[in-house]
Amino acid sequence: MNQWELVATVLGAGLIPCLLVCALASIADGLIALEVASTLLSTIMIALSEGLQRQPFIDLALTFALLSLLGALAFARLLERDL
């Protein structure tokens, strides 16, 4: 296991608290946990594509970062009206 895979593993463990906050805290805290988790996941994908030497996989990280931002913005707007 190289250092990139190690970082991906550590950050993967960091998703567990985010999941717990999503499940147990209020809906507003859940949205914030989702935003943090999406940043963590983008970083994990960057680290894995470098660690596993699968360079085209970096496109996944870039696409996921963009889509997660849009998704979180949509969630925030919907939350405003309690939909």
Partner: protein, 108 residues
């Protein structure tokens, strides 16, 4: 081990530490608006990991895109935080501008 390798490893460790700190903050802080601060912190961790890849691989396919991912998250992170804060405030008070005029009158 080259200087580039050492620099990339140091940046990677710094980025990962910042993200772990953000997760600890998310779990430890109790107020919703306090928790919002860790979103911005986590994006800088992603940027450092992207810079680490760019340092290691130089400006290649993976280096450019890793850097672009980090920059995207750092640039749009504050927009996301602001939108979330505004939505939560609107949800709480009906209008995000509520009480602002009252505070202004109290201050003047």
């Amino acid at each position: 081990m080259s200087a580039r390798h050492v620099a990339a490893t140091a940046l990677l460790a710094a980025g990962a530490s910042i993200e772990v700190l953000a997760v600890i903050g998310l779990a430890a802080l109790r107020d919703t608006f306090d928790r919002l601060h860790v979103v911005g912190l986590a994006t800088f961790g992603a940027l450092l990991v992207g810079v680490a890849v760019a340092v290691r691989e130089s400006f290649s396919l993976i280096g450019d895109k890793a850097l672009a991912t980090g920059v995207l998250l750092v640039v749009f992170g504050p927009v996301l935080v602001h939108t979330t804060a505004r939505s939560l405030r609107t949800r709480e008070r009906g209008d995000w501008r509520a009480d602002i005029e009252q505070h202004r009158e109290e201050d003047s």
